[in-house]
Symmetry: C2
């Protein structure tokens, strides 16, 4: 039996991915070797890498100008790798500050050029997505964090701008339909909707690259990764394999359009309970609520611990809120089944009745 896993990331994965991976750990593809024991330049693993790249491209419906890479390092590496590759010293990049992760991206970018933070919701503890801002004409790019895992906000509308758009989509990639081709570069730590910790996906328009004059260390140069088919060095083999299986699963579910419907249903169910149960309340502006990370508090703070214990008894795990946001957070990533949300809602109802 599995628990109801609301972890914010690393987080729940589809059962079929786990079973397949568990077998591949003993014997991969009839090779008599574990997936961990085969060379990364073998036919077998090259096929895995190529399938992962091509599924990501297909599911995002990317135009031909894009290259998809699976790299080491996590989104935190991208915070500096993006400006290192795209922002010339002295040039300006525009960033919108919607929380901790945006902030980290801003901090790293400052080492490479001028950073113009054109909007921020910091003063209200990031409880909404800023709507009023102007992107400076001369900005090399505009960077946004499409979903804010800690606070539970999400950009519902991608901003219109003539400036190339760059997004950290770590916590909502492939969870909803959007025109991914509007982004010049997309990056995402794969450990939420695209796999397990240990790899980062980057999708970049090739036409964006090669325009800065600084020397870039080889391992941080997107062009070298592209030239080498995302295998400039030994890639994080197993993490790429898990991503490939997860993307295959998503395609089998009907792709982004199909998963978006389920995600909408899951989020509606939980937010509806939050809005109607007198004991709980949501943390953020309704119009900016995230469908991936639902943050909420309990009206009687003295019941917080008791509710967590109550949930634990019901095999509901991972719902303690981030310390910066407090209360609770239920993460509803692609692989979380509807039944887990139903179990959560049931627990909220029961607990509320008990305390009425």
């Amino acid at each position: 039996m599995k628990v109801h896993n609301f972890n914010a990331g690393p987080s729940v994965l589809p059962n079929e991915v786990l079973y397949k991976a568990s077998k591949a750990l003993i014997d991969f593809d009839g090779t008599g070797m574990s997936i961990l024991e085969i060379g990364h330049r073998t036919e077998q693993f090259t096929a895995v890498m190529e399938e992962a790249r091509s599924l990501a491209r297909e599911l995002m419906q990317l135009e031909d100008d894009y290259e998809v890479l699976f790299l080491h390092g996590g989104a935190t590496t991208q915070f500096m790798q993006v400006p290192m590759n795209l922002l010339e010293s002295g040039e300006t990049a525009a960033y919108v500050d919607t929380g901790v992760w945006s902030n980290k991206a801003i901090k790293e970018a400052k080492q490479f050029g001028y950073v113009d933070v054109i909007a921020s919701s910091k003063e209200t503890n990031y409880n909404h997505i800023p709507k009023q801002f102007t992107v400076p004409q001369q900005a090399k790019y505009l960077h946004i964090t499409t979903n804010n895992t800690i606070y539970g906000t999400q950009w519902q509308t991608i901003p219109e701008t003539d400036v190339p758009l760059i997004a950290d989509m770590s916590s909502d990639i492939l969870s909803r339909q959007m025109d991914f081709n509007r982004f010049a570069l997309i990056y995402a730590g794969v450990q939420k909707n695209m796999g397990a910790a240990g790899a980062t996906m980057v999708a970049v328009r090739k036409s964006m690259l090669g325009k800065v004059t600084r020397k870039i260390p080889s391992i941080l140069d997107y062009r070298l990764h592209i030239e080498n088919g995302s295998m400039l060095n030994t890639p994080p083999v197993f993490a790429v394999y898990i991503s490939m299986l997860t993307l295959r699963w998503l395609k089998g579910q009907g792709g982004v359009a199909a998963i978006e419907k389920i995600n909408a249903k899951k989020a509606a169910l939980l937010y509806d309970e939050i809005d109607h149960n007198p004991l709980f309340r949501g943390n953020v502006a309704k119009e900016d609520r995230s469908r991936m990370n639902v943050t909420f508090t309990i009206d009687k703070p003295e019941l917080e611990e008791e509710f967590l214990k109550f949930c634990k008894k019901e095999d509901i795990v991972g719902i303690k809120g981030h310390r910066l946001s407090g209360g609770f957070r239920a993460s509803l990533y692609n692989a979380l089944p509807l039944e887990s949300v139903e179990a959560m809602v049931e627990a909220m109802k029961l607990f509320s009745l008990k305390k009425a």
Copy 2:
């Protein structure tokens, strides 16, 4: 049944590591969740990370001044991260060039300071380890590659020098006894003797850090990783878990002293056959032969393909030599059982008889 896996890396792992990991992919430590689904800041995973760090420290018998980190990125990331953290602009670092990997390290270091290549065996296609060289007094450090996977050479004696010593030990770490405390910094992609692709171990004397003035991106700053207990960002969870299991296995074998004896026996067995079988010959200077990667050729090049096919029938895989070195390469990492070397030697004998 498993094959005899002589892959150069990613490479063979102990069966007990694979079985344990395969189970943890379904249910880790009774959590009802996969090792891929648990938060990296949970008690359970923090324990994994701490055990991996402390086993590495114990097995290398490191003094208190060292910190052990498990990072993203592979040794290729360390090629630039080492000079970025240790070499001030304008200062000199000394490197010994013993092959492709040394060369890559040299290339990346040049972006950060002056690189003095004090010795090289390039002119003889890296068939030996240079013995005569002088380390400039003013060098900030001396960098060596302790084992050269492609060419099959290995430093049998660690050079005596007053300059801080830095080593890429990716392909021979923990395979033999040495005074690891003689190194100011050791790095190793873990996918040969310490686990599976996706993590890199760094052991560094803290007193080496904080001396350069350049700004270092957060994710590349060793000090920040140390401050954060090797969890500055989401670590490569599964790769660290595999490393922990592999280190546990090594400790169970009796540690480095015990595995060295087995490694010596495996290498002696294979080199002895190479030296006595008239059909084969070794590639490199006898005194510099690697115990990890045994490179050799067949005297009649027209038989090369046939020998590979013959081995494949005997379930011997991964022995095709690197294109830069040609012929064959049998990698004898810690987890390769003696029986696999015996099978290889038997195959060489049989093939030789058939062709006599």
